[in-house]
Amino acid sequence: MSHEHDHEYMHEHDIPHEHSHDHAHEHAHEHTHTHDHVHTHADGTTHAHPHEHAHSHPHTHEGEHGHPHGCPGAANCASDCKTCDMDPRAEIVALMQYMVNHNTAHANELAQLAGRLKELGDPAGYDQVMQAVSDFEKGNMRLSTVLAAMK
C-alpha cells in the first residue's frame, strides 16, 4: 500500500508566518486538508483511511510587501535573542500545527510498517499495529481540535 504524497513547495520560503497583507510576491501558507486515502494491499483488499496532511499553495497578493522575515526585534537570533518580541502563543500554535502534521506523517509510516508485517506473514502483528495507528490518529485528531480552537 502507499500513503505517499508529493506536494510541490513552489516558493522560496514556505515558513508559516504571520503578516499583514501588503505584499506582492508569491508565497505559501501551510494548511491542512482532511480526506480519505484509498489504497490496496498486497492481498487485494482495498479500504480507505481518513487522514489529513499539510501542504502549501503558492499565491500572489497585490500591493506592497509588508511582513517581517526572521526575528522582528533582532538581526540575528544567535546574538540578539533577548530582543525578540515574537508572540509566544503564536509559536505554540505553530509548534502544535507542526506536531499534528508530523504525527499524521508518522501514522502513515506506521501503517506502512504494518503492511510490511502482513507481507511477511504476520497478520496478527498487522492488526495490532493498525489498531495502534487508529488510536494514534484519534489522539492526533483531538490535538487537531484543540489546535483549531487556539487559532
Binding site: I15, H17, C77, A78, M86, A90, L95, H102
Partner: protein, 66 residues
C-alpha cells in the same frame, strides 16, 4: 525528520543557538538556521554533526575551525 536544536561547538544548554530549527542552509562557509517561526540565526562556520534521531545539530564556528 523532526525539528532540531542547534548548539555551538558542543551539546550543552548554555551553547544553544536556536531551537525548533526546520531548515539549515550551508553556503560559502555560512550556516543559516531557520526556526519554525521564521527566525534566523547566521553562523560563519560549518556543521560539525547532526543527530537526526535526537534532533540535535552541532555547529562549529569559523573561529573554532582548524
Amino acid at each position: 525528520m523532526c525539528l532540531s536544536t542547534v548548539y555551538n561547538l558542543e551539546k550543552r544548554p548554555e551553547n544553544e543557538v536556536l531551537k525548533n530549527v526546520m531548515r539549515i542552509e550551508c553556503e560559502n562557509g555560512v550556516v543559516t538556521l531557520t526556526d519554525i517561526m521564521g527566525r534566523e540565526a547566521v553562523i560563519e562556520g560549518e556543521i560539525a554533526s547532526a543527530d537526526l534521531t535526537g534532533g540535535t545539530v552541532v555547529v562549529r564556528p569559523k573561529a573554532a575551525c582548524a
